[in-house]
């Protein structure tokens, strides 16, 4: 492993600069006719006490402490800010280092464009935490990084630095590569087919397990040992089935990302306790081998089989409504965009539910979150409210 010689004085200086202004001590009680804590039953009415950007108390009979400000949402609904476990918003300067196939040291956290407009879009759609993930062109792509979609400074927005290791168990890494009759360069990018992808994964896992030195191998080792989540982009039935085989072989507990054909293996995935992070559900095209509308209930069928399902890729609330409309239970639909992705990323002690000690990331809605006509009133990140309809809050989105 490479060790950097870091000059502490200069780094501290930079960190101090990035830290920005500390916000003032603030105590606010939010009251709504309906509060969805996700970790427990719906509170109706309910209150959430927010102190200094954290949830201090939640319940149905909380009195405002003296000096606290009270915000009454009337017949509105409060729920946790949404968590997107797989997204590439903010990833700047290339989503993969394609000059190598195995790049476990590729850290999304190092190359974030904090001003990417996709953060603002995600925020406006209710997403407060987002896992910036490297692309799928490499066999082992690198490390995702979880950030808040709004906040004064880069430091205050970071939730996880190198959260999950991304591998691609699909045909994406073979794109652009072709086998050649004779080498005309010292370097020919591999693999050229899906079988090659699996071979590369298997041999790399073996190398790491045997303790052989590979570049940035420590990241891979920590994912293989289960210390860090391993997200495997696997879409088709073959991808997923290979994932299960490799999991058995190397005793892994991976997360399947994509999962377009996961319904075909729902029971096996449930038995192996492999959570699935679904890539964007869409209604405009029919996916899956059967190409029938059945696949629109992908999330519902997985959940029914006992698979932990998360929705990802933006427009989370819309996706949850869509999944609910086609068969996912209301409770599961809300979990799939909050607590389940937070657990999958192992950040559920900070985000994904309304509970004491969690970050004050909340959505205030006009009514039932799963009703298509319900609007978002505001989105809160770390205790700070971002209004949706006011045009004067521009300056607050700076980073």
């Amino acid at each position: 492993m490479k060790r950097r010689t870091v000059k502490p004085s200069a780094l501290a200086l930079l960190a101090a600069l990035l830290l920005g202004a500390a916000h003032a001590q603030e105590t606010v009680l939010y009251k709504a006719s309906r509060v969805e804590p996700i970790t427990g039953p719906t509170l109706s009415p309910g209150q959430v006490l927010v102190v200094d950007g954290k949830i201090r108390a939640i319940g149905s009979r909380i009195q405002a402490p003296s000096g606290a400000q009270v915000v009454d949402l009337g017949d509105g609904t409060l729920m946790p800010g949404l968590v997107d476990a797989y997204n590439d918003a903010g990833l700047a300067g290339g989503t993969n280092e394609v000059t190598r196939e195995i790049t476990p040291g590729f850290q999304a956290a190092r190359v974030i464009d904090w001003k990417d407009r996709r953060f603002r879009e995600a925020l406006s759609q209710g997403t407060t935490s987002l896992a910036i993930s490297p692309g799928t062109e490499n066999v082992v792509s690198g490390l995702s990084c979880v950030v808040k979609t709004a906040g004064r400074s880069a430091e205050s927005r970071r939730v996880g630095e190198s959260t999950a290791l991304l591998i691609s168990l699909c045909s994406d890494p073979t794109r652009r590569n072709s086998s050649r009759a004779r080498p005309d360069s010292i370097y020919v990018r591999q693999p050229t087919n899906r079988m090659g992808v699996v071979w590369m994964l298997r041999s790399t896992f073996d190398q790491v397990r045997r303790g052989e030195e590979i570049e940035s191998g420590e990241w891979l080792a920590s994912a293989l040992s289960g210390e860090r989540p391993m997200f495997a982009v696997s879409r088709t039935m073959h991808d997923l089935s290979t994932l299960l085989t490799l999991s058995e072989e190397f005793e892994l507990s991976p997360v399947a990302v994509g999962g377009q054909e996961a319904y075909q293996l729902a029971d096996r995935l449930a038995a192996a306790k492999v959570p699935v992070v679904l890539e964007r559900l869409t209604s405009h095209q029919l996916q899956g081998a059967e190409r029938t509308e059945l696949v629109w209930n992908l999330a519902g069928r997985l959940a029914k089989a006992g698979v932990q399902v998360s929705l990802s890729g933006g427009q989370l609330l819309e996706q949850a409504r869509f999944a609910y409309r086609f068969g996912l239970s209301a409770e599961e639909a809300l979990r799939a965009i909050t607590l389940t992705p937070a657990r999958t990323l192992r950040l559920d002690d900070r985000v994904g539910s309304l509970a004491v000690g969690r970050d004050a990331d909340m959505l205030a809605l006009d009514g039932d979150p799963l009703e298509f006509t319900t609007a978002i009133r505001w989105v809160m990140v770390n205790g700070k409210i971002y209004e949706n309809q006011k045009g004067d809050s521009r300056g607050e989105y700076d980073l």
Partner: protein
């Protein structure tokens, strides 16, 4: 599907807007549509009326959008809003006689032009570009359908002001019928074909026939004014008198082309032809004699032998673009350097146009004007070309273009010389409404001077001027030069008797300017993309000080050049310094290392293909872990290569040389700053564009900026950011390939509020410091080589020219 539209995403979606707003709230306020002030009194300014009254100092009274009175000492009406403008200069709102403002992308890209088109159908009154244009004092523009074919359609004069509809923008909807000859077609024969087509069309209309069917078979009913006003488009045309009778067209469809050409023949609207070659110019002029039409010419790049005819007919012309960086289109390539003065000497009234392809580029109109003055034109004539003469040529001189009672109150108030682009506008009015109000920048300190200095100078001499650049300020001083070096400098210095002293009066003496990052067009020769660690390359090894780009820089007053290697590799090599015009042109072979975090060094073909990889590679290099070379070389050669690379990187890490890091975007700059902090580099960023969030870090880390050239298509935010950074104390120098480009960037930054002294230093001493040049480079200090430039005004004023460039005490002969 979005259930509800979020207003803030709509607004904030464009990060540029958010940023612009941020800046504007700090410094200036572009007024939102306000209630029209009843009466406005502008007091105390110097007023260029552009009428026979000439220039006066006094008061203008504006009522209901019009000028009602102007005079030296007018009493203010009661309840009038008085604005004190002492020390400023008021001119009629400037006019860009060839613009693309307000036009939709579709209209700009339109290729199948035809005579029946009306540019007003391509206008989008909700575009935002007007703000940046208004900020420069431009209050009216002429737009027309694109000039691709022989007959292009009807052009219009539009306001630069907030608009609710197209109608509120229009000053004149039929300013000219547009045509062009020779924009397409490279041979004289092809061009003659275009001319014949135009001639036939005019002739048939004159003979009372319908012009032969060429392009006017329209699928839709022709647009006309009535329909634009919101009436449903129908197949019946308007009940115009003679329109409906044409052969070959359905009786219900009036022949719009014919109608328009009839108006041209009847001299109701001028025919405006863009020509560039001598042959097309000659033919275009022949139309005047043949049909007695009103003709306006555009372009006139290569008048050649047709110039006497142009002089004889005194045909009005619209000239431009005068300020052009990059490659000119093929039809304009052959334009001579003295083109502008030759054409304006022989023609009738003339106006200037930016000939811009983007709406917001019209904001650079004053840059074109300054370039025209630098090319030798009289400032008075240039100001007329932007105001009254433009208004006359466009047929709107009864409304705009001069300051007199009854005229529309379209006015621009500048803090100094209106034709100095580094001077910012204080106030801009359109129809009496304030469309821009600002308080940026400082006043220009110099005016143009005439200078008398011999072509060759003795070994020892002294120069005396009221404006010698010392520490960013222009002060009176005497500069003594002996044996090619500066021997003395000060207000009262001892000079041996008999030393000739040259009085330069208001002429400006600066050290030779510094181009902080200029490739001299040599990138191709310093480009070795085989491996991304090319630290061994030295740009100085391919330097050619006799190349055209270097000569242009020297003649433009730039003596010292930081010459970088090509930016296609992440560690690009060693930057060298040139001293142009000197017997030994290498000033220093290795002043800095160039490192590229920008996209130009990323390629899928080799590591690194991503910004992350660039950061990794540079982190490894700076930490002393240079990757082994993969080049197929004998082991000893490989060792030598790697050792040389390491040596050059070590020189940067140790602080002996500066690190010049190319980083443009937010994320690239973040990554660069991380490296600079980690390795405590002495560094400058080259070409940064998204710096506004990094200002604190830049200042704390002591990182300077070498700003890339600002082009016509850039937004004002680029200059605004530089101004913000400079105000915070971050040192800034300027990159660019030509002297005009580099000075324009400095001038635009000053216009946006960068302190003048910092900008002057940015062209000289700061540039030398930021690029790691030897101490004393580009500053007037005793013992330094006498590398001087004598200007007829401050180099920040783009209408200034270097009168003499002196290297090592000797006047540089441009012929050499």
């Amino acid at each position: 599907m979005q259930v509800r539209r979020f207003r803030f995403t709509a607004i904030l979606g464009s990060s540029f807007l958010a940023f612009a707003t941020l800046l504007l709230t700090v410094s200036d306020a572009v007024s939102a549509p306000q209630p029209d002030p009843e009466v406005l009194v502008l007091k105390g300014a110097r007023i260029h009326t552009m009428t026979e009254r000439g220039t006066i100092t006094g008061t203008i009274i504006v009522r209901d959008g019009k000028i009602t009175a102007i005079g030296a000492d007018l009493p203010s009406p009661s309840n009038a809003r008085e604005i004190a403008l002492d020390g400023t200069t008021i001119v009629p709102g400037l006019i860009d006689s060839r613009s693309s403002l307000w036009l939709t992308r579709a209209a700009l890209n339109e290729t199948s032009t035809r005579a029946a088109l009306t540019i007003l159908d391509g206008v989008d009154p909700f575009l935002e570009d007007w703000r940046e244009v208004a900020r420069q004092g431009v209050t009216a523009v002429f737009v027309q359908p694109s000039a691709g074919s022989s007959l292009g359609g009807l052009g219009a004069v539009l306001r630069v002001a907030p608009a609710q509809s197209v109608e509120t923008l229009v000053i004149r909807s039929d300013a000219a019928l547009q045509a062009s000859l020779g924009i397409t077609g490279s041979t004289s024969r092809e061009r003659f074909g275009q001319f014949q087509k135009l001639q036939r069309a005019l002739k048939s209309v004159k003979d009372g026939k319908t012009p032969e069917a060429e392009e006017e078979k329209e699928e839709e009913a022709s647009p006309d004014e009535g329909q634009r006003g919101g009436f449903p488009r129908g197949r019946t045309g308007r009940g115009g008198a003679r329109g409906a009778g044409g052969r070959g067209s359905a009786p219900t469809q009036p022949d719009r082309t014919k109608e328009l050409l009839e108006k041209v023949i009847a001299r109701e609207i001028p025919l405006r032809i863009e020509v560039h070659h001598p042959d097309t110019l000659m033919w275009a002029l022949s139309l005047v004699t043949e049909f007695d039409i009103r003709l306006v010419l555009e372009g006139v790049s290569v008048p050649g032998g047709a110039l006497p005819s142009l002089a004889e007919l005194r045909t009005p012309v619209v000239l431009g673009p005068v300020w052009e960086t990059g490659k000119a289109p093929s039809y304009r390539e052959a334009r001579a350097d003295d083109w502008l003065s030759r054409v304006t000497e022989s023609t009738g009234p003339w106006a200037l146009g930016t000939f811009a392809s983007e709406g917001r580029s019209s904001r650079l109109l004053r840059l074109h004007a300054a370039a025209a003055i630098a090319a030798g034109l009289e400032p008075d004539a240039v100001l007329r070309a932007l105001t009254i003469d433009a208004a006359r040529i466009l047929g709107v001189d009864d409304t705009i273009g001069s300051i007199a009672p009854g005229m529309s109150a379209d006015l621009a108030v500048f803090a100094g010389d209106p034709l100095d682009p580094s001077v910012s506008a204080r106030l801009v009015l359109s129809q009496g409404r304030i469309v821009f109000e600002g308080n940026r920048g400082s006043r220009a300190s110099t005016s143009r001077a005439t200078i008398d200095l011999p072509e060759s100078l003795p070994a020892s001499y002294a120069l005396r001027s009221d404006h010698v650049l010392r520490d960013g300020e222009l002060e009176a001083a005497t500069l003594w030069v002996r044996d090619g070096k500066i021997a003395g400098l000060g207000n009262s210095i001892e000079i041996p008797e008999g030393t000739p002293v040259f009085e330069l009066g208001k002429g400006v003496i600066t050290p030779g300017l510094v181009a902080a990052h200029a490739t001299l067009g040599l990138s191709a020769s310093s480009n070795d993309g085989t491996e991304s660690d090319a630290s061994q390359l030295r740009a100085i090894d391919v330097a050619d000080p006799s190349c055209d780009a270097a000569q242009a820089l020297l003649e433009g007053g730039f003596i010292t050049v930081a010459l970088p290697p090509a930016s296609t590799t992440t560690s690009a090599g060693v930057v060298g310094a040139l001293r142009l015009g000197a017997p030994e042109t290498t000033w220093h072979p290795s002043i800095a290392g160039q490192f590229v975090m920008a996209a130009s060094a990323r390629t899928d073909q080799r590591f690194p293909a991503s910004l992350f990889g660039q950061g990794e590679l540079l982190g490894d290099l700076f930490a002393g872990r240079a990757p082994a070379t993969r080049l197929y070389l004998p082991p000893s050669a490989q060792e030598a290569l790697v050792a040389e690379r390491k040596r050059n990187v070590r020189a940067v890490v140790s602080g002996e040389r500066v690190a010049l890091i190319q980083a443009q975007t937010h994320a690239e700059i973040s990554a660069a700053l991380r490296l600079i902090a980690e390795h405590e580099l002495r560094a400058s960023l080259v070409g940064p564009t998204e710096i506004i969030d990094h200002l604190e870090s830049l200042r704390a880390l002591g990182v300077g900026l070498i700003a890339g050239p600002i082009s016509g298509t850039d937004f004002d935010r680029v200059a605004d950011q530089l101004a913000a950074a400079s105000t915070m104390g971050i040192p800034i120098a300027f990159a660019g390939e030509s002297p005009e480009e580099i000075r324009a960037t400095a001038a635009l930054a000053v216009e946006a509020g960068m302190p003048r002294d910092r900008a002057l230093l940015g062209l000289t001493r700061t540039a030398a410091q930021l690029t790691g040049m030897p101490r004393g480079t580009a500053s007037l200090s005793i013992g330094q080589p006498a590398d001087l430039v004598i200007w007829n005004a401050s180099p920040l004023n783009l209408s200034a020219r270097p009168v003499r460039v002196i290297v090592g005490g000797n006047v540089v002969d441009p012929q050499q």
